[in-house]
């Protein structure tokens, strides 16, 4: 088997592990914002995959995994369309 396929399998595996085991502790900036009392300044506009969850999926692992895969697809499409646009512009 072409080992380059692992270039795609590995990030998917990392997302799988992240969906199962990722820490829910706050990150450094969040921790500092809580300690110094400006955490409540933060606001978020609702996004399609807010909090790394996939709409309509309730299971904690599946919803994070699906959102992660969606992220991979979005990035792939972004670079694919960038390439297609530039190719067309140069014709």
């Amino acid at each position: 088997m072409n080992k380059k396929i692992f270039l795609w399998i590995l990030p998917i595996a990392v997302i799988l592990l992240a969906s199962l085991f990722a820490s829910s502790y706050p990150d450094a900036l969040e921790a500092i914002s809580e300690k110094y009392g400006f955490a409540e300044n933060a606001y978020t506009i609702k996004a399609f995959f807010s909090e790394y969850s996939f709409p309509l999926i309730d299971n904690a692992f599946l919803t994070a995994f699906a959102a992660g895969i969606a992220g991979i697809i979005l990035l792939y499409l972004l670079y694919k369309s960038l390439f297609v646009i530039v190719k067309k512009m140069n014709k």
Binding site: A22, D27, A28, K35, N41, K46, Y52, G71, Y79
Partner: protein, 225 residues
């Protein structure tokens, strides 16, 4: 490290957003130019450069695929929060990983693209704060860190990657603290010690993960486009 909306005042956020957009235009231009040069040097022209012809061929396709691949690795790694010091968590920034594999300009584009997707679709990092996050993680964390790597890489590859990772994480954390303190969210001197001591730990993690991921990525043949 992802700054949410609300920590920065509008003036700072919009100013940084404008700067990030300008830098993005410049770096994208350099990425396209690199692909153009690739094609200019294609075999079959007796080594002559095809001046003025900016066509894109198969290796351009592969080059964009490589950029997409690196950004997917960074995105996946950023999703994995690792508990640190039993009360906070950290994840890879990936700026040095991207810049070592793709150079400073593509590195900036890669990290920015990941940050933009996270902000727009995942509400991870603010939309208004995207400029600040791009400055911290893509410009400082990837673009500038590349030159730290480059300065040392001829002498010792491992030392170069580790130094670049420490610069990447610590300078980005410092920039982040400056931005939120200028915006009046917190006093710089009060939060300095907490911010930097936590990120000193994160820099160790960033170095180890970057070395590991670079080795795996290269072994799988991802760097040969």
């Amino acid at each position: 490290m992802h700054i949410p909306d609300g920590f920065l005042n509008n003036k700072a956020a919009l100013g940084l957003l404008a700067g990030a957009l300008g830098m993005m235009g410049y770096c994208l231009g350099r990425v396209f130019k690199a692909v153009g040069v690739l094609i200019g040097n294609l075999a079959g022209n007796n080594g002559q450069k095809i001046a003025g012809i900016m066509g894109f061929s198969k290796n351009a396709d592969k080059y964009f695929q490589k950029l997409a691949m690196i950004s997917v690795w960074v995105f996946a790694a950023q999703m994995f929060n690792i508990p640190i010091a039993s009360s906070t968590s950290a994840h890879l920034i990936g700026g040095v990983f991207a810049a070592v594999l793709a150079g400073p300009f593509a590195g900036f584009v890669i990290i920015s693209s990941v940050l933009a997707i996270q902000a727009v679709f995942f509400a991870d990092g603010g939309l208004l704060a995207l400029g600040a996050n791009i400055l911290n993680m893509a410009f400082i964390g990837s673009f500038l860190s590349y030159f730290v790597y480059k300065a040392l890489s001829a002498k010792n590859y491992y030392a170069a990657v580790i130094a670049a990772c420490f610069f990447s994480v610590l300078a980005a954390a410092l920039a982040c603290l400056i931005e939120i303190s200028i915006s009046g969210a917190v006093s710089f001197s009060a939060a300095f010690k907490d911010m930097m001591s936590l990120h000193l730990l994160f820099a160790v993690l960033e170095s180890a993960l970057t070395l590991l991921l670079l080795k795996v990525f290269k072994n799988l043949g991802g760097a040969n486009e």
